[in-house]
């Protein structure tokens, strides 16, 4: 913990020194960024924009995780589904995020559905591919046990299959949250009139690095808090049955 703190302090120190060398226009000092954050918070704009971005992140993430996990599970369990969907998956995995976003805006319009849908579609193949690996590694002997004891479908899903997929879902969540929020910023920059991405776009036009950092850093802090206070505790809870090793 103290090592983490020292590392953060070192980062701040380097920032401070670099800003002194580079000049405040290119790289403002931490104090200047903090002042902008304070001003934006007082006007309420900061929370409005952070909230808009966070809502888009959560919506896109939930859709991508739910559909991606279902698709990955079906592909990992059934060879025919796997063969049928695999080419689609490869196309989606290799389609640049920008292409999906622009197409969504052109086809659906400059609205929330297009924005969230485009982000979800970018994350979905990634989740499906990860969960497919998990589904392929499912323990057949436990499946047979569930079959002999005639466990109902819901019981099987919840108590036999999902616990085995938990590490894969956790990996998809980790990489997913960070990927989704980065793409959300691009979506906002290109076609929304609020959110962190929109504010960063405005700051770019004005060459206002202070404002850019003033919006980017609080959002990074929010994502860090989600990881520490939500994702990690859930992970600890679902892996509590594993024997602890020193």
């Amino acid at each position: 913990m103290s090592l983490r703190l020292a590392s953060l302090l070192l980062l701040l120190l380097i920032w401070e020194l670099a800003s002194a060398l580079a000049g405040s226009r290119l790289l403002p000092s931490p104090q200047a960024v903090l002042a902008v954050i304070g001003a934006e918070a007082r006007s309420g704009a900061l929370f409005l924009n952070l909230g808009a971005t966070l809502a888009r992140v959560l919506a896109a993430f939930s859709i991508a995780m739910a559909l991606g996990a279902a698709l990955g599970l079906a592909m990992g369990r059934n060879k025919a589904v796997d063969r049928f969907c695999d080419p689609w998956l490869i196309v989606l995995l290799n389609l640049p995020a920008l292409v999906v976003i622009v197409l969504a805006y052109i086809w659906i319009g400059l609205n929330e559905v297009a924005a969230v849908g485009a982000v979800a579609l970018n994350k979905l193949p990634n989740t499906a591919a990860t969960v497919r690996e998990g589904a392929r590694a499912l323990d057949g002997s436990l499946d047979e046990m569930a079959e002999v004891f005639a466990m109902p479908f819901r019981t099987r899903m919840r108590h036999v299959i999902l616990p085995q997929l938990a590490p894969y879902l956790a990996a998809a969540t980790r990489s997913g949250l960070s990927l989704v929020w980065k793409i959300v910023l691009i979506v906002e920059l290109l076609g929304r009139s609020n959110g962190v991405g929109f504010e960063i776009g405005t700051a770019f036009q004005l060459f206002d690095v202070t404002r850019l950092l003033g919006y980017a850093l609080p959002f990074v802090a929010i994502m860090l808090m989600i990881e520490t206070f939500i994702v990690q505790p859930i992970e600890r809870h679902v892996s509590r049955w594993r024997p602890k090793h020193a």
Partner: protein, 235 residues
């Protein structure tokens, strides 16, 4: 209660060759009867149990079971859900909490372990949980696949006695697969002997002496007879 007539069962190995594992296997059990399938390693005993349990439907022949039926199975490995506690493992399989379940749990010495995860149990304890799970659903048919293999002799003997007490108390029709002649004699009313690969029924023998009246000399005599039957099948 249970009528099995398998004309042929083939299995395909990883390189795609198929081989016959069971041929002309017939056995039947009356309600409440305990049967043992005895045979050398690799003669298809486990395949036979899987066919009866409905896990493998790709065979020529018939398996007749009353419908509807509940099957309790003890696999060679415990096959517990490692992420659920012992109590949850029992309940998820269909055990109803109550006096009957408490009795089974107590009989198998598991009362102290209900809140433990399977990873915290020794193999012997995990085996007992698997046995408790099979009993706890009050099955119509109990299938046991070498349930005491790789346990030390003393523990196997104790678990065998506990199993026997449960079978006697509940009058469950039971089919046990084993390669251990003593185990088959100690537990079964009826012994079916399978030949070496591919397994086929070579003898179906009813043990006249009830299990409780079994004495060492009588067991010795039964063992000698069965060994003679096995030798006859091999020769």
């Amino acid at each position: 209660m249970l009528d099995v007539a398998i004309a042929r069962k083939t299995l395909r190995n990883a390189s795609g060759e198929s081989r016959i594992v069971l041929r002309d296997v017939a056995l039947s059990l009356k309600s409440g009867e305990v049967g043992a399938v005895l045979g050398p390693s690799g003669c298809g005993k486990t395949t036979l149990l899987r066919v009866i349990a409905g896990l493998d439907r790709d065979f020529e022949g018939n398996v007749l079971l009353p419908t509807p039926h509940k099957i309790g199975m003890v696999f060679q490995e415990p096959r517990l859900l490692p992420w659920r506690t012992v109590a949850q493992n029992l309940e998820l399989a269909g055990a109803v909490p109550g006096a009957a379940l408490d009795e089974i749990v107590a009989a198998l010495g598991l009362s102290q372990h209900l809140s433990h995860f399977p990873g915290e149990l020794s193999l012997g304890l995990a085996r007992r949980v698997a046995i408790a799970r099979a009993f706890a659903i009050s099955p119509d048919l109990l299938l046991l696949d070498e349930p005491f293999v790789s346990l030390d002799a003393a523990l196997a003997l104790r678990l065998r006695a506990e199993l026997l007490a449960l079978v006697e108390a509940r009058k469950v029709t039971t089919l046990l697969v084993t390669h251990d002649i003593d185990e088959a004699i100690a537990l079964a009313d009826r012994i079916v002997i399978l030949s070496r690969h591919p397994g086929s029924t070579v003898a179906d023998r009813v043990i006249e002496t009830p299990r409780r009246a079994m004495t060492p000399p009588r067991a010795e005599k039964a063992k000698a007879e069965i060994e003679a039957l096995i030798a006859g099948a091999a020769g």
